[in-house]
């Protein structure tokens, strides 16, 4: 399916950006940076509280009415990464908070500062904890990218719709699409299991 050529990069780019946004959003809240924290809460609230499809429509079809025109691809990337970022930031924030407080104290006692301890001790441990739920988000995102069909991006699903419109082979075609998503997600699940085994060394196998 040539549509995968769109789905894969769309997923990878959005997820990478989403993770960066998530980490920043989580840290801003953990570090208790006054105004930024409010802003972060507001952002998470908006993006978790509204449907992804509606977000896509607002950015791609709504913003032009205000004179802001964004192409389909950048629109999709903006929405998908912000949406992933909102969910993943909560995952990462919870994972950071789950790291025992003694880790920070031990770091302070050997003379390291807050940022050194965060970067070298706490965040690596938190990412280990956050890995399974983040993998979940990634798999969710793979499937969510099918919504990009709604803003004219010729990803797998829209490609299938077009062929179906020509050939009327709707059932077979859509099943095939489902199968490709399923395969793709299965590969990711396997990768997740392999990575988790690698990461588990210090957690006592």
């Amino acid at each position: 399916m040539q549509g995968l050529i769109v789905t894969i990069p769309l997923t990878i780019i959005s997820f990478t950006l989403g993770l960066i946004i998530a980490l920043i959003t989580a840290l801003v809240q953990i570090a208790d940076l006054k105004v930024l924290k409010q802003l972060a809460r507001f952002y998470v609230w908006i993006f978790r509280g509204t449907p992804l499809l509606v977000q896509l429509y607002i950015v791609f079809y709504g913003l032009p009415a205000l004179g802001i025109i964004i192409d389909a691809w950048p629109s999709a990337i903006i929405v998908f990464s912000l949406n992933t970022g909102a969910y993943a930031s909560e995952t990462i924030r919870a994972a950071i908070e789950a790291v025992p407080g003694g880790q920070m104290e031990a770091g302070l006692c050997v003379g390291m500062n807050y940022f050194q301890i965060m970067y070298r001790i706490i965040i690596p441990q938190a990412l280990r904890t956050a890995f399974p739920p983040l993998s979940n988000s990634l798999i969710g995102l793979v499937k969510d990218t099918s919504l990009a069909a709604n803003i004219t991006i010729l990803e797998m699903f829209l490609a299938a719709q077009r062929i179906a419109a020509r050939t009327y082979e709707t059932f077979a075609l859509y099943c095939e699409v489902a199968l490709v998503y399923l395969l793709f997600c299965t590969v990711l699940t396997k990768l997740q299991a392999i990575c988790e085994r690698k990461l588990s060394t210090y957690k006592g196998v």
Partner: protein, 244 residues
């Protein structure tokens, strides 16, 4: 070398430290004993600024500071001169035994990696873990983890090591190996303040014993004075409660 004076700390309405003063001279091995909840941990934590005292004065190597108002820089300076051994070890869980020791040297003290590793290996050898450099904390027994904790403490050549009940999280058969390491340090003249419930250990190792109860120092003196001839009734009761 270190003096803290009139340390006061309360949590809401609970007065945890009521005007506690403590003096540590070079080479001292001071043990702090007392019932649970008497403020021993809080006192150690205030010295290291893990807990900020409500008021109190600290004099460390002729430098005086207000314990309630210390700046980040002052705190960091004190922390670099001291080391802390935690009741529950608090090893960095994502680092090996060796990395646990080198981390502070390389990151906080900007020591070159190979020099840090040389020092770390020496420290781990000293606590009897020369065959465990590359083990993660979860792969070590409690006694081994605590010995890594002690190696991490001595590697930075602190002026004082603060121990908060270093053996109370350990299974009975593992306590000895940790106490032996501490005894070894005492022989070498390391200055230490040790909160402990190991009365025999305290009796043998201390140059000074402090008995704390209810946020105050009830009595202090030599090991002999406190264990064999306590003056205060509460000290007597406490010491007796450990004799079977």
């Amino acid at each position: 070398m270190l003096k803290v004076e009139h340390v006061y700390k309360k949590y809401d309405d609970l007065e945890v430290l009521k005007d506690v003063s403590l003096e540590v001279d070079k080479g001292d091995v001071i043990t702090i004993i007392g019932p649970s909840g008497s403020g021993k941990t809080t006192l150690l934590r205030c010295i290291n600024f893990l807990t900020i005292a409500d008021s109190g004065k600290m004099i460390f190597d002729d430098k005086t500071l207000d314990m309630a108002e210390a700046s980040k820089k002052e705190m960091n300076e004190i922390r670099k001169k001291t080391a802390f051994v935690f009741q529950n070890y608090n090893l960095f869980l994502n680092k090996t035994a060796l990395q646990n020791v080198t981390e502070g040297l390389i990151i906080a003290r900007k020591m070159p990696k190979d020099q840090a590793e040389t020092i770390a290996k020496k420290a781990l050898d000293k606590v009897g873990l020369s065959d465990r450099y590359d083990y993660y904390p979860t792969q070590l027994s409690g006694g081994q983890q605590q010995r890594v904790g002690i190696a991490r403490a001595i590697a930075s050549s602190p002026e004082i090591i603060l121990f908060d009940e270093p053996t109370s999280a350990l299974d009975p058969e593992l306590i000895g190996e940790v106490l032996n390491v501490i005894k070894e340090l005492a022989k070498e003249g390391m200055t230490m303040v040790i909160v402990t419930h190991e009365m025999n250990f305290a009796k043998n190792i201390s140059t000074k014993v402090i008995f704390m109860d209810d946020g105050v120092i009830i009595e202090e003196g030599t090991s002999k004075e406190i264990f064999e001839d306590p003056k205060k009734e509460r000290t007597k009761q406490f010491i007796h409660s450990f004799e079977h």
